[in-house]
Amino acid sequence: MNEVSYLKYEGKHNGLAGWLLSTDHKRIGVMYLAAMIVFFLTAVVFGLLMKFEMLTPGRTIMGPQTYNTLFTLHGVMMIFLFIIPGLPAIFGNFFLPIMLGAKDVAFPRINLLSWYFYIIGALMILASLLFGGGPIDTGWTFYVPYSLRTGTNVTFAVFAAFVLGFSSILTGLNFITTIHRMRAPGMNWFRMPLFAWGLYATAWIQLLATPILGITLLLIMLERIFGIGIFDPALGGDPLLYQHMFWIYSHPAVYIMILPAMGLVSEIIPTFSKKNIFGYGPIAMSSLAIAFVGYLVWGHHMFSTGISDTSRAIFSLLTFLVAIPSGVKVFNWVATLYKGSIDLRPPLLFVLIFIILFSIGGLTGLVLGSLNTDIHLTDTYFVVAHFHYVMFGGMGTLFFAALHYWFPKMFGKMYNEKIAAIGAWTFAIGFNVLYFPMFILGYLGMPRRYYDYLPEFRNLHVISTIGSWIMVTGIFIIVINLLKGFLKKEMITDINPWGGTTLEWTVPTPPPVENFDKIPVITRGPYERDEHK
């Protein structure tokens, strides 16, 4: 039975039900992938429409209300449906058990349940567009008091985010238990692949931060339905407390997005430089350090709200501290490349693009983290540029890297590497043309979330909009190329096309239902090569 690949396996249910009712972590991972690509591309289209609106001052294709709705949906979908769950739910599910030498996650049925929570939440967000007060216009942050006053479908959309939170918590719970309990014999903590370390740090944040968002969103719903007064200033509530509660979750969420992505970089770089990773211990520990310190910096989203100077100074200091473990990672990656035998295949190309984009995003983050410059730049395009560099340039680019790295293993097919590289370059160029002018626009005073602007900002906006077309072309090339690869008839059977050293490269391509016939015994570190023995 274990001869059959997970794609072909026929058990109690077949066809579509064989997927929808499957508790196989690999099938669940692929189902997440299918759903997420749809939501991601939808949100890309929303972003593209917004950029088109900014082509000329005044109304171009839409009015202010439509624009408000679009940036809200773009944010909600990208963040809750793509960036936060992206890497853990797709690649974590698919590869974590294999990388640990296990047959599945600790709680396979809960794993399937969390996929259903994800789908229900996502469909609810889409449904909120269609009925009642119409699509939400609050921004993805749902700030009170506006979110209590607007007539749009806030209650419903907020409930959708609440359901998505459940999905996230259950995935985190599953991964922590899996990592503690299911490692193959001989795989001690420091023989674990760094992707697993990234997922481990992430899972703790998912577990310990998401409930705060859950209760906050629940309170918004109750406030709208019953008028309980907890956040409504007209009844004695304090909107600032809402912001605290929201960012206590939503800042750590930023690290939910990036930590697994950073773990992925630590997989790809040793594979394509044919070298053991430099500084395994520091990289693993820096993930935990980022997760820990990242929990304590939420106040930097509130520097201009009038919170006390003492707390602002402390939050600013802590924010700067996050740069240290992040820097540790970047230096170790670069040191791994140094004197390596570098093979510039598409996954590595995406990783190098990531390092540059993420460094720009990270350094401009320091500008926003210092108190006085933040007062000038807060709520401007500078912030928009910054978080697109770290989030999209960070997690987004690495999402493509992960797809290109693990695609052959997941589907037993290969894409065209040359076209993948062209797609990557187009994406990278378009990305910078799109977002870099926003730093300048923000510095000059262009506020975020406006559908209109003063004529003097025209040139930079036009450049940025053209950038959006180039970048979307890049995404289009990447997606079509992968899709063509997926639809190819010929299968590859090479179990290790890149020369990777972690366990997923020891199982057949595509992996069989139970991953391993015999659970391996681990006798070496994850990136040690034979030459080093």
Binding site: I169, L173, L235, L241, M245, I519, P520
Partner: protein, 210 residues
């Protein structure tokens, strides 16, 4: 991959069962519950600091006797929940079931008490957007908001816990839970203790501190 030897996996034929993992998953879930309520406790602390006087006045209107009775009910039920686990581990199936029934009944009594407490408050007009609320100072409105949300959310957890325990009762009856396979019951018990411990904090914060 060559220098990885492979070992015969002895457990292939068995159904996978990992009690430690199962307990760990339960504890992790309890952390999330604690943090869910933790968010409410943060808000309570913030508003208590902001509206110290109003909170004192509003708290005087709550019925300490009802609160005390409910505290006794929950504490007792926590004891019987853990005793039912001890009983099944000593192979006393019937006694374990009696203790579980008693635990569930205590939970039910707690809810009945809560129902009458809430309906009295609502009857007097103390509820969000209620007739009495318009004249109250902001701090008292917020106090009642927190009171309803926190005790309401807690009551919801009592209901979930009771459902959980009812399933355990059935499992003990059908001998799916036995002296050497009692992790499910322990997990349900852990959940019930969580419900209990949250109440231990809610009780003084709302009923006792004046």
């Amino acid at each position: 991959m060559d220098n990885e030897s492979v070992m015969e996996n002895k457990h292939t034929e068995h159904i996978h069962r990992d009690d430690v993992g199962s307990k760990m998953g339960m504890w992790l879930f309890l952390f999330t519950e604690l943090i869910l309520f933790g968010g409410m406790f943060i808000l309570y602390a913030g508003y208590r600091f902001m509206y110290a006087d109003s909170f004192r006045v509003a708290a005087m209107r709550l019925d300490t006797v009802v609160g005390t009775v409910n505290t006794i009910l929950l504490l007792t039920s926590s004891l019987t929940a853990v005793l039912s686990l001890a009983a099944i581990q000593k192979k006393q199936k019937l006694f374990s079931m009696y203790l579980l029934v008693f635990t569930i009944v205590c939970g039910g009594a707690f809810l009945i008490n809560k129902y009458f407490e809430w309906s009295t408050k609502i009857h007097h007009g103390f509820y969000p957007r209620g007739p009495e609320m318009a004249d109250l100072p902001d701090g008292e409105v917020v106090f009642y908001g927190l009171y309803y949300v926190m005790t309401g959310l807690h009551a919801l957890h009592v209901i979930v816990g009771m459902v959980f325990l009812t399933f355990m009762l059935v499992f003990v009856y059908k001998e799916k839970i036995t002296f050497d396979n009692s992790q499910k019951l322990e997990n349900a018990g852990l959940y019930w203790h969580l419900v209990d411990i949250i109440w231990i904090f809610l009780f003084p914060l709302f009923y006792l501190i004046h």
